[in-house]
């Protein structure tokens, strides 16, 4: 019997025919990277391969690495494998990776969402035999409201704070979520300020040609009084720190798929939670899986046990991908999702 197109090792997903890993978590010789988030693009690999759009951020984050780039849709032969990257709709530059060996096609989804967000290259469904899917939000309680509605709520919250003379402080992951939010915000309400981590990512993305609204970084000499009605976007870890307190009377908001759950909203102790995720919701996952036409589904990153069992009952041949996270979502991702 032929070896499978992709196997699961203690370093991550491996392709025996091509001799490469995909989003490995331990150093390997050759790594194909779906996108720049820290749990997918890790330091220490010999060679990196990522999309042209994802590479600048990966370089920015990992420093001096050897990285080749590939266009979306371009096919590259690595050993006996034909490899191509296709939009995953997760963040700018994010990709699903398609691997074909002797006519058998596997797709690694990376992180993805099905609905377009106005910034990331929209998700492209890929027919395949086997689909390795994330399932961060793979429970039927996760259903996302329309992005336009979330935008209305966000802007109403910002305008209310501006009218009350308060700074609006919005916690969001600095790569992807922050920029997506910027495009949803109505900058007629007031100035957009950013935390340094967000601004550094903005600079990288702008240099690539992504259009973002004007922003100004909150530097030590910035006086918040000079920016009435401002909205500040910062990574979640910055909320509640001395840096945030310097912003004076502020209302805090938090944008994440986890805000769908009241318990998490209360734990975050933010004034407002906005349900906005860069991952697919339950219906999104199921529709993506359906459109691949795949028979074999491998669930990774999330409620894998539950999700795989549900897929099995729906008729798929579904299995759990063993990961170093022991199968559950890890709490660092709570902020990012």
């Amino acid at each position: 019997m032929r070896a499978p197109v992709l196997t699961f090792t203690d370093r991550g997903i491996f392709c025996p025919a091509g001799g490469f890993h995909i989003d490995p978590w331990r150093p390997v010789d050759r790594a194909l990277i779906t996108h720049g988030h820290a749990d997918h693009a890790r330091p220490g690999h010999g060679h990196y391969l990522a999309t042209q759009q994802a590479a600048p951020v990966i370089r920015h984050r990992l420093g001096n690495i050897v990285i080749d780039t590939i266009r979306y849709g371009e096919t590259l032969r690595i050993g006996d494998a034909a490899v191509s990257f296709h939009p995953a709709g997760h963040i700018p530059g994010s990709a699903q990776i398609r691997v074909a060996v002797a006519g058998e096609v596997w797709v690694v989804s990376g992180d993805y969402k099905v609905a377009p967000d106005g910034l990331s290259e929209p998700f492209e469904p890929l027919p395949c035999h086997s689909f390795i899917t994330e399932c961060t939000f793979g429970l039927p309680v996760f259903k996302w409201p329309d992005q336009a509605k979330v935008a209305r709520d966000l802007n109403a919250w910002w305008a209310g704070n501006a009218a009350a003379g308060k700074t609006a402080l919005l916690g969001a992951y600095s790569l992807g979520k922050a920029q997506r939010l910027m495009k949803m915000l109505n900058t007629d309400i007031g100035p957009l300020l950013t935390h340094g981590a967000v601004e550094a990512t903005n600079a990288v993305l702008r240099a690539q040609g992504y259009t973002l609204p004007d922003t100004q970084q909150v530097t030590p000499d910035l006086r918040i009084k000079d920016h009435p009605g401002a909205l500040v976007i910062a990574p979640p870890a910055a909320l509640g720190t001395p840096w945030a307190r310097k912003l004076g009377a502020s209302s805090t908001g938090f944008a994440s798929g986890w805000m769908r759950l009241r318990g998490v909203r209360r734990r975050r102790a933010a004034d407002r939670g906005f349900v906005l995720s860069d991952h697919a919701d339950w219906d999104g996952l199921l529709s993506a899986i359906r459109t691949t036409g795949a028979e074999n589904i491998y669930a990774t990153h999330g409620y894998t046990d539950i999700f795989a069992r549900a897929l099995t009952e729906m008729g798929w041949n579904a299995q759990v991908v063993p990961t170093q996270f022991g199968g559950d979502e890890d709490s660092a991702e709570e902020a990012a999702a």
Binding site: P140, L261, R262, D271, I306, G326, D330
Partner: protein
Amino acid sequence: MKDFANLFTTLDQTTRTSLKTQALAAYFTDAADTDKLWTIALFSGRRPKRAVTTTQLREWAAEKAGVPLWLLEESYPIVGDLAETIALILPEAAATSDLPLSHWINTLRALSNVPPEERKHQILAAWDQLDATERFLFNKLITGGFRIGVSQKLMTRALAQATGQDEASLAHRLMGGWTPDTTTYHALIEAEDKAADLSRPYPFYLAYQLDDTPDALGDPADWQAEWKWDGIRGQLILRAGEHHIWSRGEELITDRFPELARAKDFLPDGTVLDGEIVTWDGTAPMSFNTLQSRIGRKTVPKKLLKDAPVILLAYDLLEENGQDLRGTPLRERRAHLDKLLANLPPDAPLKPSAPIPFTNWQSLSDTRAKSREMRAEGLMLKRLDSPYLAGRKKGDWWKWKLDPLTIDAVMIYAQQGHGRRANLFTDFTFAVWQGNDLVPFTKAYSGLTDVEFTQITAWVRKNTLQRFGPVRQVRPEHVFEIAFEGIFESPRHKSGVALRFPRMARWRHDKPVAEANTLDDLRAILTAYA
């Protein structure tokens, strides 16, 4: 329901008390009387009688959502609340509704009179006209437990703002055994107080914990010290020839302690006492464990009455000859109390909780160290010129508890919490060594910071050895210092002991598992203190 849902959303979106009070006051100004009455009822722990079971709700919701029941069940511990799980899992409603809160409550109450199949139909119909928040609240009406960060105190303050009435007298009106069926908003809040329920208790005055030494309290001569008994706080009311006993949780517990009925034989009508109900061996309180055997029972078998008889150790007099004494200083209330309880026969089911004489804080500190011998948890310090206030107020009453007992134990099982702690591992089982085995002896849920719970959650996920439903057996790697207030022999437990109020005092990162305490250590504490 929209107004109530908006109120809920506002309350849920802020952690600021002032904003919550403001939102509630606005609601109490604008809403219809029936909605106001039900809102007061819900926020004070009253709810409509449950007409459908949560099992039925789960089944109907899963069916309506087109998911298997097990998938709903698996989602529940992650969401952390059944009412919310159901609200989130259902498909979007087909319609909207402007009907008020009281309409939906009446719908639920009418359910007990309709055939089962019709009940399902009505619940599904309700779900289909309510948005996610309204649905959550509707489900909460059925499942109960409206914990949304609104204390009774906060609600009372808002009600005072909205009605212009005095907060303390409103607090008194809200006490007692009323339900929305037995009263109206007008009768409860607005009407003249003449027909006031004779059984109505006064709001309890609650002490703050003294974390430091009492030196900062000033002159010892201004203070009264008492034992802090380890019993149940109770208010005994004698009015119009009847007696009533209220627990601190505002539960009427008269029938659970029939011994106290004899108080009527010794005390005049128009008397209200505040004190501690304890089991009594004739000369001293028995262990809290003995009292535990009485707490859950609504009717008490004869043998138990004989083995675990209770008395009231009274420490305050709130009403005498029908007069409210709460405004007078403790010094005077105490004098009246002592006079009232002087010369009671030894078999009377009540005794004064005698003040402890002391001249300086140091000598009192020495007395406090003997609390466990007295079967007390520590001391109470009360300012002699203080009135009897309502609720937890800082300054005049302090509880000065003994330092807890502690033992170092190994975490062996973990389970996820509920509500705000959903999706976090917060409920743990701990074990001590017996030879090479770890013997579980207690559970604990509290004492860690949110950051620590997050850390331990990540660890549990990576170190699960086995799953038993929601419970995970974890690698025995972490030692915690478990603090507790008391220890008892317990044949029901594998370890043979039961702890009172166990919690995690410290995560002992410094301590290897092998150095955790043993069952013999635990038994030594049992021998010393039980």
